[in-house]
Symmetry: C2
Subunit: 349 residues, 2 copies
DNA sequence: TTGAAAGCGCTACCAT
DNA sequence: ATGGTAGCGCTTTCAA
């Protein structure tokens, strides 16, 4: 690594002068400055992490510390997945408005990767962390984040330390199902997770489990019961949903409405039905969950449970900031908040 | 700020022991360690940027430096915009495969924000930078990045220093238009930028200008000319495109095909035509540009110029890495590369 | 205009 | 098991 010392040696001046020249201070003679800059260039001097560390060390330590903007790290499941993408965009905007920086990383499916994000980024660059759909065991998250303020988004696993922001899974799904029931649908299919998810302790607190729970609640409120037969299991992608419909084929006509656990799934379902020549909503009504913007552009426009994503973003950002800036004490319990929603009625149901 | 020194004073041990205890080294007695950890907790000790700086300084400086993963900063225009989102996802995956870290930031419309990204993030945490659709003057980019390897994505403004990765705008658009021509379309409309973009020196090198250029080339290759009358100006969003179609209304039937400068626009156009009761492709064929995945899920499936996004990502990542790791010298000129593509023929044209 | 010295917070090394 | 010392690369302060 090239250091200022190297440049100093090469040019025959002191490190101090190199430092001054490089920062464009006016107490260096133009000729000297020129010479130093050129040497730095030709030696390929780079203000790299180590150099920066040294600078920060010195600058932060003294009283004329920079009016430091807090940095919030954000782990997002898939950048090219509509719902996480919208959340990321909104978090970035909110943070910007709060005058703080955000650094995003994409989590892949393997926990190894999530672990590495926390280790390498969160603990190095960030003052706080927003973790969206984490796969890591809660314990590990708490341990790895080393008392660094952390907010979990849509992760309702039992724990008391971390702030949590949740999409309105139960209540939103229930409302959607009641809407379908009110419109007279009686043969409703549920596309996403299987029926079993609600009894599986591992997945009970997952988004899928919570949404299915809402469906079951609404159904039982109407004196009906959720059965395995009504559940269509599929990957949570539109491709997966589309081919799931293809596989079911004509017998999908047994349903008069399909409630899909996410907008992605719903879009794939509509396309799959279209492939079979089944019209939405005339033959089968389709409803989604999330409120992704593109749903409005679809034909038919997607009727969906629209989560208040800006609110989700601001709750997440404000939660971390409250702790970073000490408004909430280090030892105070995590707060659990559920985001608002509304039924976005368009054409598909 | 709480430092190890504070903890040392409070517990009556040395800073060294605090350091050891905090890092879980085994040369501290369990009781002492316990006491130190508790004190650290109650005092709210945080490994913050300054602390980290100090650690890095010490650790990196010595020879047993960590097998440091390079960190690449990526500035993305809008996380919730399909095309940038897919690029971001792909860059993240590629980087992961190359064993390096990526840090993403969202650029907003104002240059102020871009400036701040480069200043605060790139120059602090990153070994290299990928800038997608930058608005900053090229000079500023070069200056702000202070000899830190930087790759521009889809930014073809004249300059020699920075590596550039470009989507196949001219060639892709030309191919698309030839395809429409071959299918017998003679009244083709172009949706996106106005005709003037190709003559405006400010926008000549923009994605819009370059795509329009390709259209004009294909047209003139067939003995036809691009005229103002064939250009439909719209914001580059599906909402904008949809309402642009609404405004034009029935007279849009004067076209038998519409080539849209992006998939976003194309999707909005299809929806807008649908609103008017115009069928795609029967009444009017519609074609897009980008190759966003969701186009396949649309009805009708979007025919589009599919940019090889994985290649775009790997070219970008490898370009920075080449320079970070010194395979390409600091003073070597920027390389300009154009990404591959293919016509993705689906149903809309 | 220039530079010597001190010190930022931490960890490696070696002595106790 | 514990701690003293040195020093990472830089900037600040102050003296020359």
């Amino acid at each position: 690594m090239i250091t200022m010392k190297d440049i100093a040696n090469a040019t025959g001046v002191s490190v101090v002068t190199v430092s001054n020249a490089l920062r464009g201070k006016d107490n260096v003679s133009p000729e000297t400055a020129q010479r130093i800059l050129e040497t730095a260039d030709s030696m390929g001097y780079r203000v790299n992490a180590a150099n920066l560390a040294a600078r920060n060390l010195r600058v932060r330590g003294t009283r004329n510390a920079l009016p430091e903007k807090p940095v919030i790290g954000v782990a997002i499941f898939e950048f090219d997945n509509m719902q996480p993408a919208q959340l990321a965009a909104e978090i970035s905007r909110t943070a910007s408005a709060r005058r703080c920086q955000t650094l995003f990383q994409q989590t892949l499916t393997d926990a190894e990767n999530e672990h590495s994000i926390i280790d390498n980024i969160a603990n190095q660059f960030c003052d706080g962390l927003i973790l969206s759909s984490a796969n890591l065991p809660v314990k590990d998250i708490i341990r790895f984040t080393k008392r660094r303020p952390t907010v979990l988004v849509d992760d309702d696993r039992p724990q008391e330390q971390l702030d949590t922001v949740l999409s309105p899974c139960e209540i939103g799904s229930a409302e959607a199902v009641r809407y379908l029931l009110d419109k007279g649908h009686r043969r409703i299919g549920f596309v996403g997770d299987g029926f079993g998810v609600m009894d599986d302790p591992m997945r009970l607190h997952s988004v899928g489990g919570r949404r299915m729970r809402g469906c079951a609640d609404a159904l039982s409120g109407a004196g009906m019961a959720l059965t395995t037969g009504q559940c269509i299991d599929t990957e949570w992608t539109w491709e997966g949903a589309r081919s799931a419909i293809h596989q079911i084929g004509e017998s999908i006509r047994g349903y008069d409405a399909l409630f899909c656990l996410t907008d992605n799934i719903a879009l794939g379902v509509i396309r799959g039905l279209g492939d079979l020549g089944i019209r939405v909503p005339d033959d089968i009504a389709v409803m989604g969950f999330d409120g992704c913007a593109i749903g409005e552009c679809f034909m038919p426009g997607l009727t969906t449970v629209a989560v208040d994503i800006p609110q989700m973003a601001s709750l997440a950002v404000d939660s971390v900031l409250d702790r970073i800036e000490g408004r909430i004490g280090v030892n105070e319990h995590g707060r659990r908040r559920i985001v608002g929603h509304h039924l976005e009625i368009r054409e598909s149901a």
